[in-house]
Structures are given as structure tokens and as C-alpha cells.
Subunit: 404 residues, 2 copies
């Protein structure tokens, strides 16, 4: 008799956002008259920018004509896109990343879930707590996390790096040495950012201790302040210790378009083996490239007009962030994030748990947020709201919360 | 110091089609004057059908407007597409498959590489020999295949089921009991098909012995003969033992559009655990859905006009298959496939190895095919040509081969 991968059974409950989706659906079904505002899942609401729509249409036209039809994409992605990424996201920032170190994919969720595959199952991971659930869950599925303790909500073989009000949501260097360190800046879910000097310390630590940093830069476009790095490769020595994940979901509204990329520098090695070669092999074997039309849309993101239009889109969401941040503050909440990130992280009132606050907000204000405890034990007592709603809904949601 | 997944190092050489790509690129660079005809990789050449182009354009328009913009897709795929699949690919054929047993993805290559994840690493796989390399390579990466013997080109823990001229390219039931059985019909690379009765025997065997059949139906649209099943669920009992993989690459020319789906029936269980739940968890955790616009394109495949246009496209390629099959026969080759499949499988002349024939064909005829040995040891002495070129190039290629 065949056997299943038992590691899957260790996962407690379903994927966080599936659970929220089901809860909201059940509430909606029971209260069809209630208008619900969703500031939970980090899904964008603004339509694709005109320059993206034009690029998509043009590429669709090409696909309908024999001479300009495109079949299988090159393994790593089209050169036109990889060159645009290398030029704009790296060279323009003084980072030395070549086009052939960039792997185009269907999004950062796939990459952040799949990247662990190229490492040994014996490797130990370190994650911020709270953290984007995919980093942990994908390692659970691979059997890298030991046993789960329901009382604490932690895994025996995972090194947790608490990010709390007390440390300003900046984790300390881990006391036990991990092999893989997941970092996400600007941070999901806390909205915290990191300075270049602080990130340099992580790079130095990783190089000294022989760790790989998996750096998730999905929210890079929301950085507003100086001295906040847009890429880990702005730090010296990152080429020998860091993999960087990027998404087009949040800077260009591609949550339903699906495009991302991962950088694996050729200098990142374990003995003689380059991680670049391993990731290339995974891509070549288990993936067949992002759609041609979507890669053309990605290219348009880097055009002058694209940059202008998408800057306006990011500004639109950051105005929402400000509305949430200031509104909640006025209402007496303790609030974080929202400056270099589209996420607002708030302390739940009194001794309310995160899920209690979720229920209360849903039932009394018709507003959906994300319980902090869904991101890890140190997220208990916190709550995440996203700036990705429409301006009108965001204002309305905050008015309702104020009225509670 | 972090460690890598050593299983990757066991993989001999690079992915087959990457190797071919590099060889052809090197030859082209050395002989820029030579016109090369590619009948190697199974990539389509006809442009997207008008009905698909229209569906894509309409969906792109929607994405550019606030009210009709679509962000993250539902975990399993949009209902409009899953309903169309369930209705057309299953209910219309008398197969009892529900829409919520269908998981939409970015293609059958991803699914066929990822599906092994939900099974134990201790499970033993059985594959046809020759075989689509992804089935084996993805299991190598997971550590399920033992050690590689370069002399025989086989893995110690894989059960090979030879498909040769002698058995009409129909493998016998394995003598040792496997846990997972990969079957692909119509077959890649041999172009062989299977009758419903013969497939029923596999289903009976799997149910009796407690195996799961991973059934790759990527070439289903090319079936021309009666009594050749379009789905494994046409067989009684398949719901308790079979997973089915589907691609839109070959029936609708989506190699560069990227869309596929996998069926995991709810009756397929290991003890109490449904594989449906495991695959749903994988989808929810490591994947974020196929692009909205691409799913709309998939829906158009099932419209009346879509069916008509794509039937013509399949007929176009099958005319190529006939040209290749008959041309090679006339030229004295021993030829197989090409009737229910877009692949022609030929015996290399004399005692030539597959790669020798590859080099000869490239250098003397400027035609690229795929060496049979690239698909497994029993593929040695065979060679694959695909019907996916243009008609003009296919005719030209066969003329050149005849002239050898």
C-alpha cells in the first residue's frame, strides 16, 4: 500500500488565509445584508495600470500571429525581462546582479515555498515571529521542523526570532546557529523596515556562520524613507550568503496576473556546489516558465510610463495606510507599520486575543483583518490591516472601527 | 554551515531538453548559414486560435477596470473553468468527476513534478521506459530513487517497465509491487496508445495492490481511434486509485500561455487521509493560482467556437504526423506512433545510437529531433520526431531526411 507524506498531517489547521476566507464566507451567508470590507488578505484592488493593459494586449496580439507566436519560454525567463530587472532593480541601485542570476517565476509565493527544496532536510531554519506562514509551512511539509507544540504554537526544530513591541519588531541575531534564515523587509505582517546598517549585520552574521539568508523583498516598492535598503545586495558580502525573492503583486498589482523573480547569485556556494545551478535545475525540471504575455507585462513595469503610473498606484495605497494608521491612533489604538510598508500592525485592545478581535471586528464593524496569532505565537495580541483596499472602503472601515 | 539537498547531485547531466537546446545553439553558432528545423522539443508552432485571443483580450480589458479587476484567484481555480472542465472533459464522457476535484495550475509539467511531494519518500515508483524525464527526475530530487548506475542508465529503486518494439510499446504489469505508477497515454515519447480494456487492467491492478496511478493525459486531444480512453476515469474503480494530469499546451497551443489541471478524486485515500486534502494543502501553501486572464482563455477552449477552431489545429498537427510517418516509412525507416499521438517514434538505422542519429540528423539534414535514450535506457536505438512544426517545415524536414 502506498504511503503519504506524513509531514502534511503535522500541519495544524488550514492555510491561514483559507481559514479567514471560510470564516468570512460563513458570516456573509448568515448575514447577507451586511456589507463587508476586506482589509485582511494582502490582495490589491486597483485595476492594472494602463501601460500594463497595453503591454498585455500587444503581447496577446503577437500570440495570435504565426510569426510572433511564442511557445515555451526560456528556462530562466525572457532576456528582455531579466535585463530590465537587472538594470532597474539592481544596477541602478549599485547592486552587482547579472541578468542570468535572475529566475523569473509565477510569483513569490511559489518561490518562497519551493526554495527550501534545494537545501538538505537536516538544515535548521530561523524565522521571525510573527512571520508569513508559507516559510514555515513549506518547511513543515519537507520534514524540517520537528514536532508541533499546540500549547505554544511552535515547532521543536525551528528557531523563532520574536519581533515585538519591546524590540521594535527587529529580531536579535539568533542565539543558536540556523542554516537558513528567512527575512522579509519591509516586513509582512508587522510593517517594520530595516536600516542598511542593521541588514549589513545580518549579512555579516550569515557569512561568518555559514548561513543562507532567504530575503523576501516583496514590499520593496513601499519604502519611503532614506537609508532603508531596497535589496539585500546593497549590503557588502550579500552575494555569498543571500537569495532574494521579488514579487510584482504589490508594486504593480499583479496578484491575479502572477509574476515574480528570485535572485541566486553565482557566488553563493556550498563547497563547490553553486546554489544557482541547483535552482536552475529545479526550474528546468519542474517548471515551464511564466506566460509570455505576463513577462511582457512585467517588462512594461520598468518603462518610464510604467514607473510613473505604478508610483501613483503605490502612493494611492500608502494614502490608505496613512488613513488607517492615523485613524486608529486617534481611536486610541497602539499602531505600528504603515510608513515603509502597506501593512498596519496594531495592538488588540485590552486582553483580547487576535482571533477575538477578528471576530469582534467582523461582527460589529463588518471589517476583515488578519489575526496576528495566525503569523506565529509572538503575533498574539496583535492584528494586521492592509492598505490594499479602495480609498473609499478604507475610510469607511476606519470610521466604523472608530465608532466601536 | 548550511547543506544542500544532495539528491540534486545524483542527477546525471542536465534536463534533456536543455541539453538539446545547448547542442543546437552551438551548432547554429558554428554554422550560421544552415537553416535548422526543430522537430525535437514538443513545442507548438501554430498561433493561438482567434477565440483564445478574443478571450484573452476581453479578460485583459476587465483587469484594467476597477469593477472587473481580479486579484488572487480561488485556491483551486475559478469555478467557470472548473465547471467547463468537469462538464466537457468528464461528464460528457460519462466520467463522474466533480468540479471541486479539479485543481487548475500553470501546466502539467509543474503538476507532474510536484505531485510526488504528497507521497512518502519511502514509496517506490514504477515508470515506463522510455519515459518523460520529469517523472523520474522529480523523484530523484526527492530522494526516492536510490543510486544511479551510469552503465545501465537506471536507478536502483525505480521499477522500469520496458516499452519496446517487441511488446508493442505496451508495458507488462510490474513484477515487483510499486507504490506509484506513472502512465502517460497517448504516450510521450513512443506515440503509443492504450485500449480501454488494457487500461482497466492497470486500474484493477492498482486497486488490488494498493498503488496510485499518476495518469498523464496531456495528449488526449490527439486520440483518433475508437476504444482509446480519453480519461482514466472511463475505467471502473479509477476514482480510488488514480490521479489524472491534463495540459492545455497541446490541445490549445498553450505552451507559452501556461495552463493545466490535475484531478484528485475524493475517493482516493490512504487510510483515512484523502489525497485531495493533501494536494489542496499544497496548492494553498505553495501556489497562488493561474492568472485570471489565462483561466478565461482556458474557458474559451470549451466554447463551441473554441472546440471547432482547436479541432482544426489538432488536425493540422496530425497531418504533419502523417507526413512524417509515411515519409519515413517510404524512406525505409521502421516507424511507430503518429496515429493517436503527435509523436513519431522511429528505429535508428543499423546499429546507430540515439545520440549518433541526433548528431547525424542535425549535421546532414539540419533537423532536430530527440534521442530516444534521453527518455530512458529502453529508448536507446530509437528517436522521436514531433508533429508540432509548421506543415511547410515538416514537409521540408522529411524531404531532407529522405535525401540522406
Amino acid at each position: 500500500m502506498f504511503k503519504i507524506n506524513d509531514n502534511y498531517l503535522k500541519l495544524p489547521g488550514s492555510y491561514l488565509f483559507s481559514t479567514i476566507g471560510k470564516k468570512v464566507a460563513a458570516y456573509s451567508a448568515a448575514h447577507p445584508e451586511k456589507e463587508i470590507i476586506r482589509l485582511g488578505i494582502g490582495d490589491v484592488t486597483q485595476p492594472l495600470a494602463p501601460v500594463i493593459v497595453e503591454a498585455l494586449k500587444k503581447a496577446v496580439e503577437e500570440m495570435g500571429v504565426q510569426e510572433t507566436f511564442h511557445g515555451y519560454a526560456p528556462d530562466l525567463g525572457y532576456e528582455f525581462l531579466r535585463n530590465a530587472i537587472a538594470e532597474n532593480d539592481y544596477r541602478a541601485r549599485g547592486c552587482e546582479i547579472a541578468a542570468d542570476e535572475i529566475f523569473v517565476s509565477d510569483g513569490a509565493k511559489s518561490d518562497s515555498g519551493n526554495i527550501q527544496e534545494i537545501f538538505s532536510v537536516d538544515n535548521k531554519i530561523a524565522v521571525c515571529d510573527p512571520v508569513y506562514p508559507v516559510y514555515v509551512d513549506s518547511n513543515v511539509m519537507a520534514g524540517r521542523t520537528g514536532t508541533y507544540d499546540p500549547a505554544t504554537g511552535t515547532w521543536s526544530d525551528v528557531i523563532y526570532m520574536p519581533c515585538t513591541m519591546e524590540n521594535g519588531f527587529s529580531p536579535e541575531l539568533p542565539k543558536k546557529r540556523p542554516d537558513l534564515i528567512y527575512l522579509c523587509y519591509p516586513n509582512n505582517p508587522t510593517g517594520a523596515s530595516i536600516t542598511k546598517d542593521a541588514l549589513q549585520e545580518w549579512v555579516n552574521y550569515a557569512n561568518r556562520e555559514g548561513c543562507v539568508i532567504i530575503y523576501d523583498a516583496a514590499y520593496e516598492a513601499y519604502i519611503a524613507e532614506e537609508n532603508v535598503p531596497h535589496s539585500i545586495y546593497e549590503c557588502e558580502g550579500a552575494r555569498t550568503c543571500a537569495i532574494e525573492l521579488h514579487s510584482f503583486s504589490k508594486n504593480a498589482g499583479f496578484t491575479g496576473v502572477r509574476l515574480g523573480y528570485t535572485v541566486v547569485p553565482r557566488d553563493l556556494k556550498c563547497g563547490d556546489v553553486s546554489l544557482h545551478a541547483l535552482w536552475a535545475r529545479r526550474h528546468g525540471t519542474k517548471y515551464n516558465g511564466a506566460p509570455y504575455i505576463v513577462q511582457r507585462a512585467g517588462e512594461a513595469v520598468y518603462s518610464d510610463e510604467g514607473k510613473r503610473q505604478l508610483k501613483a498606484q503605490v502612493a494611492y495605497y500608502m494614502k490608505n495606510a496613512q488613513v488607517i494608521y492615523e485613524g486608529l491612533k486617534e481611536a486610541g489604538y497602539t499602531v505600528f507599520g504603515g510608513v515603509n510598508a502597506p501593512y498596519i500592525w496594531l495592538k488588540t485592545p485590552g486582553s483580547m486575543t487576535s482571533w477575538e478581535f477578528f471576530d469582534r471586528l467582523l461582527e460589529t464593524a463588518g471589517v476583515v483583518g488578519t489575526p496576528g496569532s495566525g503569523f506565529g505565537p509572538s503575533g498574539e495580541g496583535y492584528f494586521r490591516l492592509t492598505a490594499f483596499g479602495t480609498y473609499e472602503n478604507t475610510v469607511k472601515a476606519i470610521e466604523r472601527i472608530k465608532a466601536l
